[in-house]
């Protein structure tokens, strides 16, 4: 009789265990990305503006090129061969206007025939990614402008532009960056298709 009673308690425990495990797995997030508040301004002519920057050299993750010089990171072996001779790939950490790291960026510069190719990939883990194709030549003031060609998640429905420029920093402070790459994005939402005439009535 006592064994039967204990077995009944054990069975109740199994049901409880399944319920607790299912509830825990369902309710608790397996992945929780750390979010920094977006610092976005409204542009005078519509759309929104957001600024990022990269402190050089501390935010540089890699520089891949056939050019001479110290590789970053030390020990990097850029492959030989024609497929890699006219390509320069760089990876950086990206910071927001509060100087907090919020993502990772990849800049690729290549020579494709007569065409100069410069592309940016900005990846913000909690928000999504921006794909930007840059103009080959910088404009006045050293600013190079690019077009947002597509994006993922938060940026999937946005288009706009990105400006990049190099700003040198003259500082006596130890460990101060020698300069920074400023990235200024301008987002514009894609126009919603107008409803059919019959739908509006």
């Amino acid at each position: 009789m006592r064994i039967a009673s204990l077995f009944k308690t054990f069975l109740i425990g199994i049901v409880l265990g399944v319920g607790i495990a299912a509830g825990t797995l369902y309710a608790l997030p397996v992945v929780d990305q750390q979010r920094e508040a977006s610092i976005v301004a409204v542009a005078p002519n519509g759309g929104t503006l957001e600024s990022f920057h990269i402190n050089i050299p501390m935010d540089r993750v890699m520089t891949g090129t056939r050019a001479e010089g110290n590789p970053v990171p030390p020990g990097l072996e850029w492959p030989a061969g024609p497929a890699f001779s006219n390509v320069r790939t760089e990876m950086f950490k990206i910071r927001n206007a509060r100087d907090s790291v919020v993502g990772v960026g990849v800049r690729t510069a290549a020579r494709h025939g007569d065409e100069n190719v410069i592309d940016w990939l900005l990846h913000l883990p909690a928000r999504g990614s921006l794909f930007v194709s840059m103009e080959p030549a910088p404009r006045d003031g050293g600013v190079r402008i690019g077009t947002v060609v597509s994006g993922t998640r938060e940026f999937a429905e946005l288009r706009g532009s990105l400006g990049e420029r190099w700003v040198a920093i003259d500082s006596d402070e130890e460990d101060a960056p020698i300069g920074r790459i400023e990235l200024r994005t301008s987002y514009v939402g894609q126009p919603e298709p107008l409803p059919a005439e019959g739908d509006t009535q």
């Binding site: 204990l6 399944v18 319920g19 990305q33 990171p73 990097l76 006219n86 919020v102 990846h123 883990p125």
Partner: protein, 234 residues
């Protein structure tokens, strides 16, 4: 007292039973066929090693299973990027020749629901191919099949390793047919909107060091009209 012990043992047994049911739930298996495997469109087929030591650069938070490569690469330790990894790899064409360079950034996704068999990773690629041009790829990946077939068995084995042959598509979206989207930026790919699927082929995996022998493959389908136009131009 005996009833409390029986209840606790029951709760533990129930939790274990539930975990086994989740892992071996046949309803969460992914047996679909990649839509790009039956397409008539022109295909760009690229392969790359997913073993960190065989990549040009691999970085993460420095505390994850797979070690960064080279050892002195800057790690992504800050909280907003701690669940992100970056890989730069040589991309080989269908003939196995080096064709260009590919950069992949992957982040664990908050859409992950182990209850439903969704182990989601948000990832993006930038690929530059010397003879084709550049392209971006955006995708969500589901590694549930890999976890249940390879990673969990590796963890259970005495040597913490798994050896065999596992192949599967990891791309799960955002396309309605489970495909990634690709956007060409330069060369002959400039302006093209394409679909892509990434797959994984694993021969050896360690639950302590990650991939030991494994290869990734990207299949990119050009839009059929554009492929025909390209042929006409040549």
């Amino acid at each position: 007292m005996k009833h409390i012990v029986a209840l606790l043992l029951g709760i533990i047994a129930g939790a274990v039973l539930f975990a086994l049911a989740v892992i071996y739930n046949p309803l969460t298996g992914d047996g679909r066929l990649s839509p790009l495997s039956v397409t008539d469109a022109e295909i760009i087929s690229l392969s790359f090693s997913v073993v960190p030591s065989e990549s040009i650069v691999y970085t993460n938070d420095g505390e994850s299973m797979q070690p960064p490569h080279p050892a002195k690469v800057t790690q992504l330790w800050e909280a907003p990027v701690r669940q992100t990894s970056g890989m730069v790899a040589v991309m080989h064409n269908a003939r196995g020749e080096p064709a260009g360079v590919g950069v992949k950034l992957s982040s664990r996704s908050e859409k992950t629901r182990l209850f439903n068999g969704d182990a989601i990773v948000d990832s993006v690629w930038y690929i530059y191919l010397a003879d084709q041009g550049g392209m971006f790829i955006g995708q969500t990946e589901n590694y549930w099949g890999f976890l249940t077939d390879v990673a969990f068995p590796a963890g259970r084995s005495g040597a913490n390793t798994w050896r065999g042959t596992w192949m599967g598509d990891v791309t799960a979206g955002p396309g309605v047919l489970g495909t990634a989207f690709a956007t060409g930026t330069s060369g002959r790919l400039k302006g093209l909107e394409m679909e892509a699927v990434e797959s994984l082929s694993v021969q050896a995996f360690s639950s302590e060091a990650g991939f030991v022998s494994a290869e990734g493959r990207l299949t990119v389908a050009l839009p059929e009209a554009s492929a025909a136009e390209l042929v006409d131009q040549q």
